[in-house]
């Protein structure tokens, strides 16, 4: 069955070709309910391997695949905003080029959006799969709007790879703010401030390659990227000054501590 749904993806030179193939297969051939459009933004020049997979996908997905090529690498926020302009459906599902959607993802999320017309943004839990051990760890997020709103003051309440949203409100607030990291978190805070309704489904609908690599991210540039978003949220009034300070210090600590400590912190934060 096909539904009025656009899937929004972006890929760039750094993506693994095999991962992109799996990602595309998971939102198309394997879905119990199929989107009627897949928008794939190619962010800058990419290797022959990636291009080969894109043409394979064009063959299988046919006219439902819209490939948008950017001449230069512009970053995820710009790529997604350009892609959003090409989305024909009112409901848009995000998909990352290195994740896999479970086969009932669109069926479940689309049904929820139809049933709850006031919900603008819907996420779900995601399942992190450790590349080496195959171990899976669910990443929980709160489900009700009230809990999401409260949670959002401290952490990103929506797992970006799992999100499905209504196009109109996102376009209305100008799309993704142009940050290098956390552009989605910035967008959610703007939408929450405008009073749009959020929800999360309490099931894991996306499998994500995670494990150690996420924990390994440390260093000043991560902190700076994150603090830009925290500044933005404070400046726009989404965060109060005390919340802003706690977040800023918290992120600094997380990015500065040794890897082993951070692994522990991540574990605590998840549960």
């Amino acid at each position: 069955m096909t539904v009025e749904l656009s899937v929004l993806m972006a890929t760039y030179q750094g993506d693994q070709p095999d991962a992109l193939r799996r990602s595309l297969a998971s939102i198309w051939a394997q879905q119990t309910v199929r989107p009627n459009q897949v928008v794939l933004v190619v962010d800058g020049p990419v290797s022959d391997d990636l291009n080969e997979i894109i043409s394979e996908a064009q063959y299988s997905i046919g006219d439902a695949l819209t490939v948008v090529r950017l001449q230069h690498n512009r970053g995820l926020a710009v790529a997604l905003n350009v892609g959003l302009e090409h989305c024909r459906a009112d409901i848009v599902a995000r998909m990352d080029a290195d994740d896999v959607s479970v086969s009932e993802r669109f069926e479940k999320q689309f049904a929820f959006m139809l049933k709850h017309p006031r919900v603008a943004v819907l996420g779900s839990w995601i399942v992190e799969v450790d590349a080496t051990t195959g171990e899976t760890t669910p990443r929980y997020v709160p489900e009700s709007h009230r809990d999401i709103e409260r949670f959002a003051k401290w952490r990103n309440p929506i797992s970006h790879p799992s999100v499905i949203f209504r196009k109109q409100p996102v376009v209305q607030v100008g799309g993704y703010p142009n940050f290098r990291k956390w552009q989605d978190y910035a967008l959610w805070s703007v939408l929450l401030q405008k009073g749009f309704k959020f929800a999360n489904l309490g099931v894991g609908l996306v499998r994500m390659n995670g494990g150690r690599s996420l924990v390994l991210r440390r260093g000043l540039h991560y902190f700076l990227d994150e603090s830009r978003v925290i500044f933005f949220q404070w400046h726009s009034g989404f965060l109060s000054t005390p919340q802003f300070l706690v977040n800023l210090i918290g992120r600094f600590v997380i990015r500065a501590v040794p890897v082993s400590v951070r692994a522990l912190l991540y574990k605590r934060m998840r549960n």
């Binding site: 070709p17 095999d18 193939r21 799996r22 595309l24 297969a25 998971s26 198309w28 051939a29 394997q30 119990t32 199929r34 394979e56 996908a57 063959y59 299988s60 997905i61 046919g62 086969s103 009932e104």
Partner: protein
């Protein structure tokens, strides 16, 4: 929701993986397993019956299949050695015939049927689904006959049927008698000799892509009618490319030994002769050498054009499989 399915050959190589996959989702109300090598059990999601399709009476079989909506027919005699024509005929033709009768009595009108590219025979140029049947082995001949019988009845009764014709299936955990398993193990043990120049294309099908395709066909049943699809992994590799990939992944450094075909044909026939006398399956047989040196080149554009997109490329599938072989030993 709430479809009830039955899987024949559910304890087999592909069948068991399919059952694992369908049991992991909540799309099916009931999964019935039929196999002659299975212990009987009943669970909340379904039951398994120890059944030999070529022996059970049609009435018994149709009773077991009562309330089933979709039949996945995977049971078959598959190995390429040690079986005589009668065994293939019994397990592939007669078993299917009984299943068709039983399905008719039980009112099942939707089938996903596992066939093989073996129904076409070999070819240098890629063969698509419209190519005529010209099987060259007993396996291929009996599978072609079973498929034809199913198609005749499906057409007369207006059943919805999807037929999948995969080429050589392989994966991690593969049975020892698959061609790819033999190839990898021979290379790993430094017992591999490349016969000929290896320039012929050998299409393969990764198990997980095949199971995905099977489920895709199942979802496609709603549009009715009868359609057959080939399945092969892309990009299609030549024997040489496959061998190089395996050697690379196994880090085999010794030089590749190559022999012209003519030199090996006669000794192999002698080995066959001995093998037949003592009843032992030697790794080298004249038939396997012939099979090794003929291109098995099939085209699966139809299923791709219809929207199926495999998760794994041929190369990634091969690398994953070889890694499994490597890790199993060290």
């Amino acid at each position: 929701m709430g479809t009830r399915i039955a899987v024949t050959g559910s304890a087999g190589y592909v069948g068991s993986e399919l059952v694992k996959r369908v049991s992991g989702t909540d799309n099916f109300e009931q999964v019935l397993q039929l196999d002659r090598n299975i212990s009987e059990s009943v669970s909340t999601i379904g039951a398994s019956f120890r059944v030999d399709l070529s022996e059970i009476s049609v009435t018994d079989l149709s009773n077991r299949l009562k309330d089933v909506d979709v039949l996945f027919h995977l049971a078959a005699a598959r190995v390429d050695w040690g079986l005589d024509y009668n065994t293939y005929e019994r397990d592939n033709v007669r078993a299917t015939r009984r299943l068709i009768e039983a399905a008719r009595m039980a009112g099942i009108r939707q089938w996903v049927y596992f066939s093989t590219v073996g129904v076409y025979g070999s070819s240098e140029t890629p063969l698509d689904e419209d190519s005529p049947f010209a099987p060259q082995s007993d396996y291929g001949r009996t599978k072609a006959q079973a498929e034809n019988e199913l198609l005749a009845i499906a057409d007369a009764e207006s059943w919805a049927v999807r037929i999948l014709r995969p080429s050589a299936i392989f994966s991690e955990n593969q049975p020892k008698d698959t061609n790819i398993c033999r190839l990898i193990e021979a290379i790993r043990r430094h017992r591999f000799i490349l016969i000929g120049d290896g320039s012929e294309i050998k299409t393969t099908s990764y198990l997980h892509n095949v199971v995905d395709a099977t489920l895709w066909l199942y979802h496609d049943l709603v549009s009715g009618g009868i359609t057959a699809y080939n399945y092969v992994d892309e990009p299609r590799l030549t024997t040489r490319e496959m061998v190089d990939l395996i050697r690379d992944e196994l880090r085999v450094r010794i030089p590749l030994v190559r022999l012209p075909v003519a030199l090996i044909e006669r000794p192999a026939r002698a080995v066959d002769w001995v093998g037949n006398r003592v009843g032992h399956d030697f790794p080298i047989t004249a038939a396997r050498i012939r099979k090794f040196c003929t291109a098995t080149n099939f085209d699966s554009y139809r299923i791709r054009k219809a929207g199926f997109l495999p998760r794994y490329s041929s190369k990634e599938a091969m690398i994953r499989t070889v890694r499994w072989h490597r890790e199993r030993i060290t």
